[in-house]
Symmetry: C2
Subunit: 105 residues, 2 copies
DNA sequence: TTGATAGGCAAGTGACGACTTGCCTATTGT
DNA sequence: ACAATAGGCAAGTCGTCACTTGCCTATCAA
């Protein structure tokens, strides 16, 4: 087999345009709460997503390991984590070792 | 706006596990025909996909720019093209330009 | 304690996507 | 010409997924 279940989750998470916008939002301003993400998504991206919709998207992103959540009182802050993206497409672009030409192993 | 329609196609194309397997196949042995891909997918990956299913997947990959097709007589050869993958995830990992600098800490 | 804010859970709806089924065209070999 | 091979087209089925709806819990301020 060539890919892990975790990788599959990442691909599935990235498949939705709205989830990618959420990642955009968190990349621009990390550590937002659910309500913050909702309002900023509406204001800045003309994205009319309900709170529950965003919440479910955050769940998917969480399961994919693309965000981490930290609870603080009644607030829950969400942080982007890009490590799952690091070598996601290497299996196709490599085959060998070009394209990554830093100081590869 | 933050992403092009072409990028969205790529994400959608990568969302399906079977399409990723097809890319795996072509990465390992480029320039296969539809029937070749079918049989090798069945033999080597225990993937029981019909010809039409694979054909439709190839269409999606084609539209995403991840493969190119070349017709020759009654054969049609499919070639992987990884250029759409090149900076796919940069919008989240960068923002700036760290993280791609090899000699990391 | 009461009300307001931040978030969670779960069932239901609707649409899109993966795959099938059936038939058709085009090229090659004999 | 005829059969066999390689592929294409289009309608239909079915499951998954995004989103909604409705209600519930928890924390904070007055």
């Amino acid at each position: 087999m060539s890919e892990t279940a975790a990788e599959a989750e990442v691909f599935k998470a990235l498949a939705d345009p709205n989830r990618r916008k959420i990642l955009d939002e968190l990349a621009e301003r990390d550590g937002q709460t659910l309500f913050e993400i909702c309002s900023r998504l509406t204001m800045r991206h003309q994205l009319g997503l309900s709170r529950q919709a965003v919440s479910q998207h955050l769940d998917v992103l969480l399961r994919a390991g693309l965000i981490r959540s930290r609870r603080e009182g009644r607030y829950k802050f969400h942080h982007i984590d890009t490590t799952p993206l690091e070598h996601l497409t290497d299996r196709w672009r490599g085959g060998g070792a070009r394209e990554n030409r830093c100081a590869s192993t």
